[in-house]
Structure formats: C-alpha cells, structure tokens
C-alpha cells in the first residue's frame, strides 16, 4: 500500500521576524530582584539571613582551621574509627569483604541501570554551585589565615579551582549556544571519573604521622599514605569500576543474571560473616563425607518428594505427609538425639512440602521451586558447617568488632532479621483471626511505646535472667537481637499501612480465582503492599542506621563511644572532644544523606507519590 504524502510545512502567512517572541529578561540582577528583593520585607529578610549565615560559616571555618584544633586526632585514629581493635594481620579479611561488596555493587548498578544521563547545562549549574561554595570558603579561610599571620598555602589553590569551576563550564555553555545540541553525560561515568581522581589523590597526598624530631621531641612528620592503605583501596575501587564495565557488557547478553545477582547478595552476608568473624577451620574430609551426602540426599530425594507433593495427583496425601514430616522434625528437636543438621533439614523439608502445592503449580514455577529448595539446603548446610567449625582466628567474643564496622554489622543484621519478622507481625495484625491479631497488636504496641534504650538495657542486663544458666550470649549478638525485635514492630506498622492501602477488589479477585490464603497473600497482596510503602521502609532503615548509635550507652565501642571516650583520652590528643564528635557526625551524615538521596531516586523511578 502506498503512503499518502503530506506537505512538510504549511505557510501561515506570518512574517519570520514576528514568529519569535521577545525572550523574558534574564540575568543575575533580574534573578536577584525576583528571588531575594521582591518586597521590602523580603529584602530585609534576605539581608539578615545572609549576614547571619556569613557570620556562622565564617565563625565555624575560623574554629575549624584554628591552630589549636587537633584534627590529627581524627586522621591518626581513622583505623580505630573504622574497625576498632580488628587485628592488623587479619586486615586482608576486611579488604576481601569490602572488595566483594564493591564488585557486587558494580555489577548490580550496571544490571539495574542505576544512574541516568545528565544534561550539560545541569552539570554546569552544579559545578557553578560547588565552585561558588568553594571560593567563598577559601576566601573566608584566607581571611582567617592572614589575620593570624599564617601563610595561606592551599587556600589559593582552592580559590583558583573554585573560580575555574564557576567560569569554565559557563564559557563552554555559551560557546555551545544552541540548546538542542547540548551533550548529555552519563552520571555513572562521572562517578567513575571521581573515583579515579580519588585514587590519584591518595597516591600523591601526604598525612601527618607521629615522629621524633632531631632534638628528641614528639612532632608530626608528613609522610605519604601507607601502601597497606592505598593499594587495597585502589584495587577495590578499580575492581568495582571493572565490574560495572563487565556488567554493562553482560546485562543484555546473558540470561538469568538477575537471579545470579540476587542470590549473590543473599549469600554475600553469610560468606562475609564467615570471612570477617570466623575464618572457620574447615574439616574438609568431613565436608566430603557428611555435608556433601546430606546436601545431595536432601536435594535429590527431597526434591523428588516435593515434585510429587506439588503435583495435583498427590492431593490430600501430599499435604498430610508433609505435615507429618514437619511434626516429626519438630518432635525430633526435643526427643531424638541426632545431628542438629538432620533435624533442621527435616523441618525445612516439611515446610517446603506444605508450600509445594502453592508455589509449584505450573512446570516453570515447579522448576524454580525445586531450585529454591536445593539452594536453601545449600545455605543450611553451609551455615551449619560454619557454626560447627572452630574459628581459626583466635578471637574471643566479638569485642574486637567496633567503629564503623560495628555500626554496619548492627544495621545490616538488624534490617535483614527484622524485615521478615515485621512482615509476619503486620500480616498478623491485619488478619481476621482474633487471637493472633491480639497477640501481634499487643507486641507491636508494647515495643513501640517503650524507647529503644530501655530494650538495649534489657538485652544487656535482663537477658541473662531469662535464659538457662551457663549459656553465654555475646554482647553484640544481644544488641542485634534487641534492635531486631524493636525495629520489627516499627516495620510492621509501615507494612500494615501498605496492606491497608490494597483495595478490597484485589482480595475478592483472588478469592474468585480460588486462591488459597497463602497464595493470595504471597502473590497478590504482599507484592503490591510492599511496593506501596518502599519510601516508608527506606525511612525506617535510615532511622535504624541512626539508632545504632545508642549502643554506645550500653558500652559497645561504636563510632560514638570511640569519639566520646577513647580519642579524647589519648595522651597526645587530650581533650579533642569536639574534633572527634564532629568527625563522627560527618561520617554518619555522609551515609544517611546518601541513603536518603538514593531512596528519593528509587521513589521517582517507581513512580510513587505522583498522580
């Protein structure tokens, strides 16, 4: 069929010159008149605010660069702030853990297409803002330096960089001219560039370290950063960038990368735990004679049973047998004397059997279900092997853990453990079963009405009262327990909000399709409910991260306690309270701010909150 041809342009009879309207007046003066001095009141307000801000910023900078400040206290204690007393000879474990997270993050960023493209015009605006802040700060610094008769060394450089950041992008934009042909730049490329600059900086930068002068006094000597610090960081950053590149190449060519990535993230937690905390002395012959057969046996035989139970033909008998296996597993906990691995595996088999008809309906779903079973068994076997092997590290307890590492350990384990519990509590609170609902409501309200610090005190001082004598539970583990139980109640309330936002029609449609309660909840209700409350859940995660600072009160050496009690007590940094606490505040701020920005992006990407 032949397409009709239309004329490309239509002459409307308007002369060329009249087509383009007069552009609105622009420029800095117009901008200032509309945004700062629109009315007499606004003018006064602007002047007062600017004066106030200038005074505060100038004062803070003056304080920060005063010769009496002991910022070295922070720099030389950075290892303490990061990992506290982690033994130096085992640092490779930390680096391996950080590196594997960097690689996983690189791959995931590439696969999930994190980051977008930024227009040149926006980039130049950001650069100008940074440049303006940098120039103002360096001007203020220069003023302070000159007032104190000190030579402004780096400030001039900073001022020059600031001016370049302001004017060079602006000139380039002016030269580009036509807005339509503006180039766009991928943000991840900018991030990579920033990281490469960072690597360059740590190779050329120098830091003060304690040394002895020729006369025998203790002074600070400027030395390059130790190779044991800069080499691992370089490797970690480069492997993260490389992983991003590889992920970009692979994401459209390899199928099933999504499953691989998700399972890698799930498995990374126990593996990092193993590397960092245990370094188990694995008895390989026993792995071959016990673990491998158990895993293969349960996976294959259990898999055959599950395949049968998932089938329509098995009917009541399948459910009954699965229930029986589950009950036998539970009973074996109390009455049968055998390896714990067998008991837990039996309970898992019973649970999977009871869920089989729900999740193994179609052939494709059945395949996934069986793969899920085999990998769950793998996780169980690995965890038992790890727990059973003696640690090769020779740490006692977990008191070696502290600083930022402790904060992250508390936050990650707290979130990972409290999330499932919170979902279960929310389902219980919204269920139609009165007794279950009462129990869940009572738990949630009780936990929420009492502050976290009292629960932490309970975990520290009250816990041993309620466990059989002789059993000792580690401090950190107890704190994680308290944080988990506390945070679960808050998460439950967030999830409940999501559950209540699901329309009645969804429930009725699921009922009309003949879905069971479990199917309805896990395939229809929960996915929608959880998606609806992602912003609230991320908010909860952020507040949990901030709340980990409370463990300082029960005497765990997290960032805060180190800053408050350890650093100001060191003889060479006596009284450096303010420096240490400001440094800790900055560390917390960077992470929390990054989380909240990421959550905003996620919200936008999911299209939440827009109508």
């Amino acid at each position: 069929m032949e397409q009709k041809q239309y004329p490309v342009s239509i002459d409307l009879g308007i002369p060329e010159s009249a087509a383009a309207p007069e552009p609105p007046p622009s420029g800095p003066w117009v901008w200032m008149r509309t945004n700062l001095f629109s009315s007499p009141f606004n003018s006064v307000l602007s002047v007062v605010t600017v004066a106030l801000l200038a005074a505060v910023v100038h004062g803070v900078i003056g304080w920060a660069i005063d010769e009496g400040r002991l910022w070295r206290a922070v720099g030389q204690n950075s290892r303490l702030l990061m990992v506290q007393a982690y033994p130096v000879e085992h640092f490779w474990r930390v680096w391996v853990s950080v590196g594997s997270v960097a690689v996983l993050a690189g791959l995931s960023f590439a696969y999930f297409r994190v980051g977008s493209k930024i227009a040149w015009r926006d980039l130049s605006r950001i650069s100008m803002a940074f440049g303006a802040v940098l120039s103002l700060v360096s001007l203020s610094t220069m003023f302070h330096f000159l007032a104190a008769d000190r030579t402004p060394r780096l400030t001039i450089l900073a001022l020059v960089v600031g001016l370049i950041l302001i004017f060079v992008p602006r000139m380039y934009t002016a030269r580009l001219g036509d807005a339509a042909k503006e180039p766009t730049i991928p943000t991840m490329g900018l991030v990579a560039l920033g990281l490469l600059v960072l690597i360059g900086l740590i190779w050329i930068a120098q830091a003060p370290v304690p040394g002895v002068s020729e006369e025998g006094f203790n002074i600070d000597v400027w030395e390059p950063i130790a190779t044991s610090t800069k080499l691992p960081w370089t490797v970690v950053i480069l492997s993260g960038i490389a992983a991003f590149g590889i992920g970009t190449v692979l994401r459209d060519r390899v199928e099933g990368l999504r499953q691989v990535l998700i399972s890698a993230w799930v498995l990374s937690a126990p593996i990092i735990y193993m590397i960092l905390f245990r370094g188990p002395d694995i008895d390989w012959p026993e792995v071959l004679t016990l673990d491998l057969p158990v895993w293969l046996g349960f996976s294959v035989l259990g898999g055959l049973f599950l395949r049968w139970a998932a089938d329509d033909k098995s009917g009541e008998l399948g459910r009954f047998l699965s229930g029986a296996i589950f009950v036998v597993g539970l009973a074996s906990l109390l009455f049968i004397d055998t390896l714990m691995l067998f008991k837990v595996s039996t309970i898992a088999l019973g649970t999977f059997g009871m869920l089989a008809p729900t999740f193994g309906g179609s052939p494709a779903a059945r395949r996934q279900f069986l793969i899920g079973w085999a990998s769950s068994m793998l996780v169980i076997v690995v965890i038992f092997r790890m727990a059973d092997s003696a640690s090769a590290l020779g740490f006692r307890g977990s008191n070696f853990l502290g600083g930022l590492a402790l904060t992250f350990a508390l936050a990650i384990f707290g979130i990972a453990l409290s999330f499932p519990l919170g979902v279960v509590l929310a389902l219980g609170r919204t269920s139609t079963m009165p007794i279950l609902r009462t129990v869940c409501t009572f738990y949630i309200e009780l936990v929420r009405s009492v502050p976290l610090i009292t629960w932490l005190f309970a975990s520290a001082n009250l816990f041993q009262l309620f466990i059989p004598g002789g059993l000792e539970v580690d401090n950190v583990v107890r704190a994680i327990g308290a944080i988990t139980l506390f945070s679960a109640a808050y998460l439950a309330e967030n999830v409940r909000g999501g559950l209540q936002s699901i329309g009645k029609g969804q429930y009725e449609a699921a009922d009309a399709l003949g879905m069971s309660v479990v199917q309805k909840t896990s395939f229809i209700i929960l996915p929608q409910a959880l998606k609806a409350v992602i912003p609230a859940l991320v908010g909860q995660v952020i507040s949990l991260f901030k709340d980990t600072s409370l463990v300082a009160i029960i005497g765990l050496f997290d960032l805060l306690l180190i800053a408050k009690n350890v650093i100001p007590g060191q003889s060479q940094f006596l009284g450096s309270f303010m420096e240490a606490i400001v440094a800790v505040a900055v560390i917390y701020w960077v992470f929390t701010f990054a989380f909240s920005r990421a959550s905003l992006r996620l919200e936008k990407r999911l299209g939440l909150g827009t109508r």
Binding site: N35, L36, S38, N42, L45, S46, T49, V50, L53, E316, T432, M433, P434, I435, L436, V439, L446, R448, S449, V450, P451, L452, I453, T454, F457, A458, N461, L462, Q464, L465, F466, I467, P468, G469, V517, K546, D547, S549, L550, A552, I553, L560, A563, K564, F577, M578, I581, V582, V584, A585, Y588, W589, T592, F593, S596
Partner: protein
C-alpha cells in the same frame, strides 16, 4: 430449573477453613503461653540460684542515692528517686515539645518561602540535622557547653542588666531570670483556673460578636487581655481561694468515714457497667433494620472478651479490698500513703484565707563564689549542662522533622485557597495566618503527634549526658539493689502510659478537627 440454591456439603474437618483458623490460633496461643511460662520459670530458677528474690518491697526501703537535679536530690526511698526521675523527664518533654513546635513551624514556613536564601537555609538546616543521629547531636551540645568558660563572674559569658546580670552562659550550664514560686503559688494557680474559665466566656462572647458581623472582634487580643488581667488580679486577690481549703477539708473527713465495702461495690459496678457498654456498642453497630446480622468470629470474640474482662474486674475489686483501701488512703503503696485522704489533705493545707504572701518572687541569677564555682540555686533559674544539652538536641532535631511535616501540610492545602485569599486582597502574612495554616493544621496534626511521641521517648537518652531522668535513675537503682526486672517493668509501665496519653490526646484533637463530611 431449581429455585433453591443447594447447600454445599461441608468440607472435611482438616480442610474446613473455620476449623483450621481456630486450630492455628490456639496453637499460636499455646506457643505464646508456653514461651512466657518457660521464661518465667527460667527467671525464677536463675534468681533462686543467686539466692535472690524478685519483689517490689525494695521500692519503699531507704536508698543512698544523690541525684544531679530534681525536686528532691536526696530521695529517701527508691520509689521517690524514680518519681523525681519521672518529673525530670516531664520537664524535658513539655518544654521540648513547646519549643520544637515553634521552631519547627518557622522552619516549615521558611522552607516554602519564595525568598531564595531563606528557602535554601531552611532546606540546609533540615538536611544537616535529620541525617545526624540524635545521640551524636546531644553529645555535641554537651561538649560545646563544656567548652564555655568557668562559672565565675570573670569567665562566664553574661548579658548585663544595670548592675546585675540578666543571663549567664558557662561550663556549668545556663542561668536566667525567673519568678521563684512561694508557698501561695497554689492559691494563685487555683485563681487562674477561675480566670481561664472566665476567659472562655470572653472568647465565646467575642466569637458571637465576630459572627454577627458588627465590625472587628479582635478575638486573640481579648483572650490574651483576659488572661493577663486575671493573672494580675490574682497576684493580690488569691487569698479569696481559701474556700477551696474548706471544701477539701470536708472531703477529707468524708473519705475518712466512708466504709471500704462501699467503694468496693462502686468499683465493681463501674467495671460491669463498662463491659456492658462495650458490648452494647458492638451490638448497636451490628444492628440492621431487619434485626441482627450474622455475627463473625471477631464479633463473638470481642463480646465475650468485653464481658469477661468486666466480670473479672468486678470480682477482683470485691475479693481484693486492698485496692480500695489504697484509693481511700487506709493502706500504703510502697510505704507511702497515696490515697484520697492524703490528696485531699495536701490540697486543703495549700489554700487558706489568711495566706496573703505574693505568689512569686521575681529575681535575677547570681554566681555564688565559693570553693566550687557555681550558680546560686536560690536566685534565678539554673539550667544544668545535662538539661541544656538534652533540650537543645531534642528541640533542634525534632524541629527538623516537624518542619517537614508542616511543609507537607501547607502543600496539601489546595492552591485555589491561596488564590482565593489573594483575590480578596489579603496580605501574604494574613493569607498564611487566616487561610493556609488553619487548614494545614488538620493535615499536620497526626505526623506532628508522632514527632511528639518520638520526642517523649527520646528523652530517655538523657542517661548519656547524666541528666537524672527515669532511665538514668532506674539504672542507678538497679545497680544498687539488683532488681533489674522490677525497674524494667516500671520503665515499661511509665513509657507506655506516657505514649498512650500523648497519642490519645492527639487522636482526640484529630477527631475534633476532622472535616465533617456528609
């Protein structure tokens, strides 16, 4: 064609949802009860193994604690020490809530300002403050205050006022002018209650004037004036309130003569009545024009539970006369008489026609130069480092969140309201005050209520800076007595009560302000 729908045969028991549901619930209930019993048994064994006992008796025994501050820094018993802690917590809470609301509203409005620099400053404040843990901020303020000069006339920062000093800032905390209350303050407060009632009538009257449209009513001005006038009159006229003392004296002798069994019967009756009211309300909601509908499991559960709780309460009051005796003041609670007799007596002695002293004694802060430099506690109001650090931390932190809530509330007010306000010629400030904020208040109340709750719970961080709140005092008490569990139960009960009170107050206002929709 069959005209009657055939009843489906019931499924077998193990597939019947109704049966399964209850089986599951009783299994869960059994599990929970087993867990609790197991914990209690273990706790008893552990305590017995250390040859201790868990009991509340220690609360009334003397205890050697010195508190850093409070209405009684040398409490004679553990329960009194905990009481001081509770009062200290309340002081922090209510002053904090007040200040955080004011600051938060300013921040929220500034965040929406069309003035670029004001807007960005408010945004910067929020992003800076809410991303740093509260505890870090509190410690920061503590450290900052400690860096101020010593509390001597030369080193402390002072704001002069004639020959004296108006304000002091030093490493010992802050001090500012205060009206120190004297013994007749209760009489004055009683007078003010009367004054506030009178103010309410003034308010009603001005509202009537406003609604009649006869010119400007100046409601706010009139109400403020009424309060100030009654406060000033009360300064001299407070002895008139002596009649309250006479009334409560009579009530005291009444409470002393009433038989215990009467109160027991009344309490039992109230308990049954409450159960009955709950059941009746439930039944009323189920009533349809054609009789009662089908009762769900849930309805039965609620009806049975309400009846059961009401009856058990009645039996409890009848079988345990101690409760009624405590309420009447015939028996002691933790070695203290807290009953009606004592309360009426306490009120009666505070009101008398012959007490004519001024209710407050205004004075300026002073520094007491002695062996240890510090403020003179007799003059002005002294704010300790602990209180100041906690207060600054709580107010600045909570204000950031309140600011965000206020901003969301203002944005939720329909744009047409603003445009209509501008169209009838209101100024920006009038628009904000008369049109936008009252409507935003409705949206803002629930999230702000949540922030109040958070602030109340966050007062428990006071232990980090050594301010004697309930948690700090409780920690000291259990370190001395070893009664961890009892102290923990007191914490739980107290914070639950505070949370419940605050949230029900917010809910009450929320329901009152809700748009009435037809």
């Amino acid at each position: 064609m069959a005209s009657v729908i055939e009843r489906q045969p019931r499924p077998p028991l193990w597939r019947d949802v109704r049966v399964l549901k209850w089986v599951v619930q009783f299994v869960i209930l059994g599990g929970v009860i087993a867990l609790i019993v197991g914990l209690i048994v273990t706790a008893q064994n552990n305590v017995a193994a250390q040859s201790q006992t868990i009991s509340f008796d220690f609360l009334s025994r003397p205890i050697g604690i010195t508190l850093s501050e409070g209405f009684n820094t040398l409490p004679d018993s553990a329960i009194q020490a905990l009481g001081v802690g509770m009062v200290n917590m309340f002081r922090l809470m209510w002053t904090g809530i007040l200040a955080a609301t004011v600051l938060g509203t300013i921040i929220g409005v500034a965040r929406l300002s069309s003035n670029w620099i004001v807007n960005k400053t408010a945004t910067g404040y929020i992003e800076l403050i809410r991303n740093i843990p509260l505890l870090v901020q509190i410690i920061f303020w503590q450290v900052a205050i400690r860096l101020l000069g010593e509390a001597t006339a030369e080193k402390a920062i002072g704001v002069p006022f004639g020959d004296e000093t108006l304000l002091f800032f030093s490493a010992k905390g802050f001090a500012f002018p205060w009206m120190n209350p004297t013994t007749t303050r209760w009489q004055w407060a009683g007078f003010m209650v009367g004054g506030l009632i009178a103010t309410y009538f003034v308010y009603k009257w001005r509202i009537r004037v406003q609604e009649s449209g006869r010119g400007e009513a100046h409601v706010g001005l009139w109400v403020t004036a009424a309060i100030i006038v009654s406060a000033i009159i009360g300064w001299w006229a407070h002895p008139l309130m002596g009649f309250v003392g006479v009334i409560f004296g009579a009530l005291e002798s009444l409470a002393a003569n009433i038989p215990t069994i009467l109160l027991q019967l009344i309490l039992a009756g109230v308990s049954i009545l409450l159960g009955y009211l709950v059941i009746r309300q439930r039944l009323n909601t189920l009533r349809t024009p054609s009789g009662y509908g089908k009762f769900s499991d849930d309805d039965w559960y609620r009806i049975i539970m309400a009846g059961l709780v009401g009856l058990l309460g009645a039996v409890f009051f009848l079988l345990v006369p101690q409760v009624s005796e405590i309420i009447l003041g015939r028996a002691d609670l933790f070695g203290k008489s807290v009953g009606a007799e004592r309360i009426f007596n306490e009120i009666a002695v505070r009101f008398s026609f012959s007490a004519t002293e001024a209710p407050f004694d205004p004075n300026l802060p002073r520094i007491a130069e002695g062996r240890f430099t510090n403020y003179d506690p007799e003059f002005g109001k002294v704010v300790s480092i602990g209180f100041a650090a906690m207060w600054l931390g709580l107010v600045i932190y909570t204000a950031a969140f309140i600011g965000e809530a206020v901003r969301a509330g203002v944005l939720a007010v329909a744009k047409g309201q603003t445009e209509a306000g501008l169209a009838i010629g209101l100024r920006r400030s009038q628009l904000l005050r008369m049109i936008v904020l009252p409507q935003a208040f409705r949206v803002v109340l629930p999230p702000i209520g949540n922030q109040y709750l958070n602030l109340a719970k966050n007062t428990s961080l006071a232990i980090a800076v050594g301010y004697s709140d309930l948690v700090q005092v409780g920690g000291t008490v259990y370190n001395q007595t070893g009664q961890t569990l009892v102290v923990f139960l007191i914490w739980m009960g107290f914070y639950s009560l505070v949370s419940l009170t605050l949230s029900s107050g917010v809910n009450y206002w929320n329901n009152k302000l809700k748009l009435v929709e037809r």
